[in-house]
Amino acid sequence: MNALPWTILFSFAGAILALDAGTRSAALARRVGLVATLAGLAAALLAATRFTPGPGMQTILDLPWIPQLGARCHLAADGISLTLVLLTGIAATAGVLFSWNIEERTGEFFALYLTLIGGVYGVFLSADAFLLFVFYEIAIVPKYFLIAIWGSTNREYGAMKLVLYSFAGSALVLGGMLWVFAAAGGKSFALADLAAAAARFPKNDQLAMFGLLFLGFAVLAGLFPFHTWAPTGHVAAPTAASMLLAGVVMKLGAYGCLRVAMPLFPEALAWWQPAIAWLAIAGILYAGLVALVQDDFKFVIGYSSVSHMGFVLLGLAAATPQAVGGAVLQMFSHGVIAGLLFAVAGRIVYDRTHTRRLEALQAMPLHRLLPFGAVVFVLAGMASMGMPGFSGFPAELAILIGTWKASPIWALFAAAGILVAAAFTLRVVQISFFGRTTAAADSAPGDGLPFAPVTWPEKAGAVLLLASTLLIGLRPDLLLDWINPALQSPLMQAALKGGQP
């Protein structure tokens, strides 16, 4: 457990070192990035081996920080945090491996990348609302530069849209948080203290505060109809940033909903529940259907992310123990799978073909030219469809069963979303890698490898992500044994029972 704060420290220290290393050589900056993310992953794994699951957040570090505001530097973790810290470690390491080919301003790239990662770790480990918010905002600005400097298609627009949506969301959170803080007496930002005070607020205030906090966080989780930043941002971003954005940053929003909004206002959750659930379902179906007709490889995956995050939000809204547990599992699962999909589309395919138009890809016999990419993408596609054996299966199954208990109608609509996901995934697999094997394709230059061979960092990154999704697909209990006890804590129990004692 005590190893967890090192994840934050390694990332921020790595950011400074990478900046300095970048002035010497790109290769050095890359190595700094890899070492820093690996060190973070190692710290997370070390903490995981020594973790005893239990209800409530286990304090790791608790120091006074700003007594005038009652803010403390309070780091703590439970099974939910640990799951997401582990995901961050995996996704961050894979992201570095898939950005091995960044040659321009490499030092700055990894400095921004690691700053973002440090902020993400911080959010997952904060037990103080102020500290959580500080880390949450630290994670916003690097995204702009990562996309605007190293991105592709329409990058400045995509970057600005994404950052303004994120910042508008965090403005809602800031307003809600300050309001709760002031109404609770303005003495403390500790989540436990705020929750204790929040129960006594007038009902209408609770509804509004929950609305601000939940919607603010949910913008970052891609809640329909505030999801439009996600596809444009993901498409414009460089591969590693897409992987992080879809894989980890969207989880920040869902985590904020689960950790801050829901436990503080269980009664308001019950009131808002139908609205959130239907928006989540709308997101699942709408984004899935849009993904079905895209002609840009990355847009398909961008919309699929929104669709999959809809399951997370639905699981949270259903607020039964099984659904919420499934939602956390889905956060992990989608983080890994989205990373994999973006890695294939952005790094393995686009960096070689220089086109993402499905029509153009269809004309290339990619399964022969890039067999490694084809294998990885088929596996990732299966995982994304929720095939048994991959992590998406237990996660979505748990969400559906848990949601059924809350409302069978919601579960039915969401199940239709799984069909849509299967449809758009199969379509994109078919078109991108197994296009028309025409005469033109047969006469492709030398029929050998017109593309640069797949490099070792790409293979290592793909193996890391595939192994993670397979492991959790086969042994979901590894994570569920951490997550379920965490749901037994008094704060979570209040949320899961909708405020009923």
């Binding site: 005038q68 918010f133 500080v134 905002e137 600005m160 910042f167 403005a171």
Partner: protein, 480 residues
């Protein structure tokens, strides 16, 4: 004035004494220097002397202590005075070190002497606890600033800036004096505590409202709050960069501290209902106008001016809730000043290297000078309110106070929500600046930028201070 002690006066006024003496010495030595002496050497001597005077003043400020009223209540030596004086002296130090393009100005020594005089006015504003002294302090500062704004005789824009600032400032000073005279008429006293006592004892009158509106108009001008902001864009654009930096930073801090004291200690909470609504209107107008108008700017300095107007809205909100403790608004003003001085320092370095008025002139700054670009990012992100930089915590502390003062039912709570919403608008134009600096490629022929060592040090100090105050805000907040 019983118990007047000249020893006490000496102690209370020593910071201003150091500054005034320093200014006179700067002038005298420059006058006495033989004409054969190269201009650079004279500039160097004057700068060194000015820095020494500021350092001595800071030392005298700390030595003056915080043991309450001094010299029969004319001065208030409390924590607000201490922090504000140190703040304006620090900001003036940075301004002197950063005004790298002094070489463009014919009479560097006079320029520096004026900065010292203005700073003496600022420190006196922070300490004054009486209407007459306050007005004198304000005028000492303002007159110096008018001249500073118009100091660059080679550029007509500078003359325009000086004239506009002078006209607006003169009118607002007249308003303030009129307001003060009405206050004196209502209460028969010029001492803040006595005025508060008298006002609390009498029923609210129309005359009081008139007096307060007059005073607040002057405050609105001083803080560049809408709708009295019209001078700000022209002055920020035309004035020599050091003058603009001083007007935007130290002058703001001194004004905020002085008006917080005047409104809460001098006029008092019992009649707050008469002046809080006026301040609320000014704050709301500034927040909206500043942020929205900034979106349309293409000139860096004008953009900073509109950003300053929006920050003035937040500062007014801070003054509205400074009754319990002025800690958060002073923290806000100090850290805002640091970021603004820094941003003007970057502009100064750019101006020395070529044109730097349009936002596009920042293009490729990361290539031309990574150090400058990095510092600019810290200043701008602090202005935008991104943690862990000090600008974030300033906003957070002020908004927290605003909501603690009355929840959402109070006007301050709604203003805090407005300010938070407008902050999201603000990020857009701040990012436009950073986009040019970090994303755009340098223009053809844009050379590397040389930064003088003193300016480099000052830029670094400002950036580090923003981070340190942001991570450890207790350094300022804990002083109250």
């Amino acid at each position: 004035m019983n118990g007047v002690s000249y020893v006490e006066l000496w102690r209370a006024l020593l910071p201003e004494g150091c500054l005034t003496l320093g200014a006179l010495l700067v002038l005298a030595i420059d006058l006495a220097a033989p004409a054969s002496r190269p201009a650079a050497a004279r500039r160097g001597a004057a700068t060194a002397l000015a820095l020494m005077a500021l350092a001595a003043s800071a030392w005298a400020t700390v030595r003056a202590g915080t043991d309450g009223a001094a010299f029969g209540g004319v001065f208030a030596l409390d924590r607000l005075t201490l922090v504000t004086r140190l703040g304006v002296i620090g900001l003036a130090l940075l301004t002197v070190a950063l005004a790298g393009n002094l070489s463009r100005l014919a009479n560097a020594a006079e320029y520096l002497a004026l900065i010292l005089f203005a700073t003496a006015g600022f420190t006196l504003m922070a300490a004054s606890n009486q209407l007459l002294l306050a007005f004198l302090a304000l005028e000492l500062a303002s007159l110096s600033l008018y001249v500073l704004a118009g100091f660059d005789k080679t550029r007509p824009e500078s003359a325009e800036a000086g004239l506009k600032y002078f006209l607006f400032g003169g009118v607002s000073a007249a308003f303030m004096l009129f307001g003060f005279s009405l206050l004196y008429g209502l209460t028969g006293s010029i001492a803040f505590p006595e005025i508060a006592r008298q006002l609390a004892a009498q029923p609210p009158s129309a005359l009081l409202v008139v007096a307060l509106v007059m005073v607040l108009v002057a405050f609105g001008f001083k803080a560049a709050a809408a709708p009295f902001h019209l001078w700000a864009p022209d002055v920020y654009e035309g004035a020599p960069v050091g003058s603009a930096a001083l007007i935007a930073s130290a002058s703001k801090l001194a004004g905020v501290a002085f008006f917080a004291r005047l409104l809460w200690a001098g006029i008092g909470a019992p009649v707050a209902a008469t002046w809080l609504p006026v301040l609320a209107i000014l704050a709301a107008a500034s927040l909206v106008l500043g942020n929205v108008a900034a979106l349309a700017q293409s000139n860096v300095r004008r953009l900073l001016a509109y950003s300053a107007i929006s920050h003035a809205g937040a500062l007014l909100l801070g003054v509205m809730v400074a009754g319990r403790s002025p800690g958060s608004v002073v923290y806000y003003a100090v850290t805002y000043g640091l970021a603004t001085v820094g941003a003007f320092g970057v502009i100064a370095a750019l101006e020395a290297a070529g044109p730097s008025q349009r936002i596009e002139d920042l293009a490729g700054l990361h290539r031309r000078s990574p150090f400058l670009a990095g510092c600019l990012a810290i200043y701008i992100l602090s202005l935008a309110g991104i943690p862990p930089l000090a600008g974030f915590l300033g906003k957070f502390a002020v908004f927290a106070d605003a909501l603690r003062a009355g929840g959402l039912t109070g006007p301050t709570g709604w203003l805090a929500f407005l300010a938070i919403a407008m902050g999201a608008v603000g990020l857009y134009y701040y990012l436009l600046i950073l986009k040019q600096a970090f994303v755009a490629a340098p223009k053809n022929g844009a050379a590397k930028i040389f930064i003088p060592p003193a300016a480099r040090l000052a830029l670094g100090v400002a950036a580090v201070a923003i981070i340190v105050f942001g991570v450890a805000p207790g350094l300022i907040l804990g002083a109250f």
